[in-house]
């Protein structure tokens, strides 16, 4: 399988990365090189094989459903580029 320029632009948008007209052909070439490299996986018969979903067979750790942390909003927002009253600021989303 390989991708065309239109698909590259669509993936970039899905990934929320702006791409310039100049970058598209380069990305296309590189993505296609990787896709053709992974093509060899099609040689393997994977019929009836379970996909790996857990690296180490283990029971998921659980903890009590309670508040164990928090109460420091200023720490949460301290690295944000724009804040007001401990809220993150973004451009207007809903008119």
């Amino acid at each position: 399988m390989s991708v065309d320029e239109k698909t590259v632009r669509r993936i970039a948008h899905l990934a929320r990365i702006a791409v310039t007209d100049e970058e598209v052909p380069h990305l296309q070439g590189e993505i296609n090189a990787i896709l053709s490299f992974v093509e060899q996986l099609n040689e393997v018969n994977v019929e009836g094989i379970e996909p790996m979903t857990s690296v180490t067979p283990m029971v998921m750790k659980k903890r009590q459903d309670g508040v164990t942390d928090g109460g420091y909003p200023q720490k949460i927002v301290q690295n944000a580029p724009a804040t007001e009253d401990n809220f993150f600021l973004v451009p207007k989303v809903v008119e």
Binding site: F37, L41, E50
Partner: protein
């Protein structure tokens, strides 16, 4: 007396205990060495204020260690100066993950790994350069410029190299990017330290710390260790907490140490590892005394040699070294058997689906809103797209896009699910070999010795990816793997051997790794031509 920077962790521990020198003197010796090695670019040099804050922290920690030692309350790593890969979040100290998008990110918390090290008395020297978000095999994708290996080819004149290094560092500062600085051969004859833990490996090999933390998603501890003549272990998935370590591919990422000896890796890993309620994939197993395991030897152990690792075009030097390694283990009492891991060749292509898929999801958090770099846009989507375009480097963008593609509607089963099935088969290969009574598997660590800066992967990304061909299977199966220096090639550059173990049996790897180290003799690390 040996220079303080040339001690092993074990020797420094003894010297501090005996009060032959103080933790402050040990820290000072390293700070001086780091100052002279600035052009290697192993340590990240943030703003002057940050640099000052890190130095104050170093000496405050060293002073606290001296007080502990004076009171006879020394902890396992008391006063041991370490470098920290910049993927680990350190409270109040900028943690960039090698990316521009986190250029000003100052975590208000400490990663579990670094917290464990400080709780055991270690002293922080600074944050180490790395490939951006740990994506790379040469440390050339760092937004802060490449790390230069302390190793030179035998036929390179060290004085010439020192001049090249200095002008490359000046160019890098001037142009701000590797590609601009590399044009015109700015890095001629200078080598990569490997990656993604390139700063860690270079700093350990250049005696700029006694040991360093590192992380390994596809080979990022073991490949740079092999390139620099150092020891690196990727523990079993779940042995070390991932909490507070910037995520790349969560089902593959695992932290471990890079050090100058097998014993030092055992000492460091014991402190890094711990159960952690904050990481649900971190196991609740007691951490063994790894150091005690190094003297066990390999008598009676069965060591497997996987025939699928004998790849086409393998250099006779690597093949010879591999054979030599098997002979060393046999001489020490191990039984050597040929084994088969039939799905080996599919590990790397399956990795290049699984890892980017997880990365595209993990890196979605860098959106210019909650932290990191922000570029304003006409609406929220435009803000996201512009911030991410400006903040991520080429390799990271490429991998996010591949990941997005293989997870997108219509392709998920063909790519992602198939790769996850391959992962099951790769893991099963290992399980079958271990079920035959094999205790560990011996392979080369890398398909070649270190290459030159700017030499690989500029046209075809896959050329660079092939570096991880021997290491990536281990991450896919979640197993532990150690790289130990085993010799030099004809150019005078180090080569390493890899031992792969059973899940949660790092102890056998330390035992067998020690046999390799004893048989090969400690590698003589380069003289400080850069100083």
């Amino acid at each position: 007396m040996t220079e303080l920077t040339h001690l092993t962790i074990a020797e420094a521990r003894d010297g501090l205990q005996a009060k032959t020198f103080s933790a402050t003197e040990l820290a000072q010796a390293h700070v001086d060495a780091i100052e002279k090695a600035k052009d290697l670019n192993a340590y990240l040099t943030p703003s002057p204020e940050q640099a000052q804050a890190i130095r104050e922290k170093t000496f405050a920690m060293a002073k606290a260690s001296d007080e502990k030692i004076a009171k006879g309350e020394g902890r396992p790593l008391e006063g041991i100066p370490l470098g920290i890969k910049d993927l680990f979040c350190t409270e109040g100290v900028v943690s960039t993950a090698g990316s521009k998008i986190l250029g000003n990110f100052t975590p208000p918390y400490e990663s579990t790994v670094t917290r464990n090290l400080w709780n055991d008395g270690a002293v922080m020297l600074g944050k180490l350069n790395m490939d951006e978000f740990a994506m790379g095999s040469s440390n050339e994708t760092s937004a802060y410029g490449p790390v230069v290996s302390p190793w030179l080819r035998g036929n390179t004149d060290p004085h010439e190299a020192a001049r090249t290094l200095h002008s490359a560092a000046v160019n890098l500062k001037m142009f701000g990017s590797l590609s601009a600085a590399a044009e015109g051969g700015a890095f001629t004859n200078l080598l990569v330290p490997g990656g993604s833990s390139g700063g860690s490996a270079a700093a350990v090999a250049a005696h700029l710390c006694l040991g360093a933390t590192a992380t390994d998603t596809g080979g990022s501890i073991r490949q740079p260790a092999a390139f620099t003549g150092t020891v690196g272990i990727k523990p079993t998935y779940g042995r070390v907490s991932r909490w507070g370590t910037v995520a790349f591919a969560s089902s593959l990422d695992q932290a471990g140490p890079i050090t100058r000896t097998v014993r030092d890796s055992a000492i460091m890993l014991r402190s890094m590892a711990s159960p952690d309620p904050k990481d649900t994939t971190c196991v609740d197993l007691p951490v063994p005394d790894f150091e005690a395991a190094i003297s066990r030897g390999v008598k009676g152990l069965k060591i497997g040699i996987p025939k699928e690792y004998r790849i086409d075009g393998m250099s006779p030097e690597i093949e010879g070294l591999w054979h030599q390694g098997a002979e060393w283990l046999r001489a020490a009492g191990a039984e050597i058997v040929e084994v088969s891991l039939p799905h080996t060749k599919y590990a790397l292509p399956a990795y290049y689906i699984v890892a980017p898929a997880e990365a595209s999801s993990n890196l979605a958090r860098y959106d210019g809103v909650r932290y990191g770099l922000r570029e304003n846009g006409r609406d929220i989507v435009d803000l996201y797209e512009k911030s991410r375009a400006a903040g991520f480097g080429r390799e990271v963008k490429r991998r996010i896009m591949i990941g997005t593609y293989v997870l997108s509607a219509g392709y998920y089963d063909a790519y992602y699910v198939r790769a996850q099935k391959l992962r099951t088969l790769i893991k099963r290969d290992f399980e079958e070999v271990y079920a035959q009574g094999v205790h560990a598997i011996l392979t080369p660590a890398t398909p070649s010795s270190a290459f030159g800066i700017g030499e690989k992967g500029s046209g075809d990304p896959v050329e660079m990816y092939l570096n991880d061909i021997f290491t990536v299977t281990v991450n896919m199966a979640g197993l532990p793997g150690i790289a130990v220096p085993a010799g030099l090639d004809a150019q005078g550059l180090p080569l390493g051997l890899q031992l792969i173990g059973r899940a949660f049996d790092e102890e056998t790897l330390f035992a067998a790794g020690q046999v390799i180290e004893d048989s090969a003799g400690r590698i003589k690390l380069p003289q400080a031509w850069w100083a």
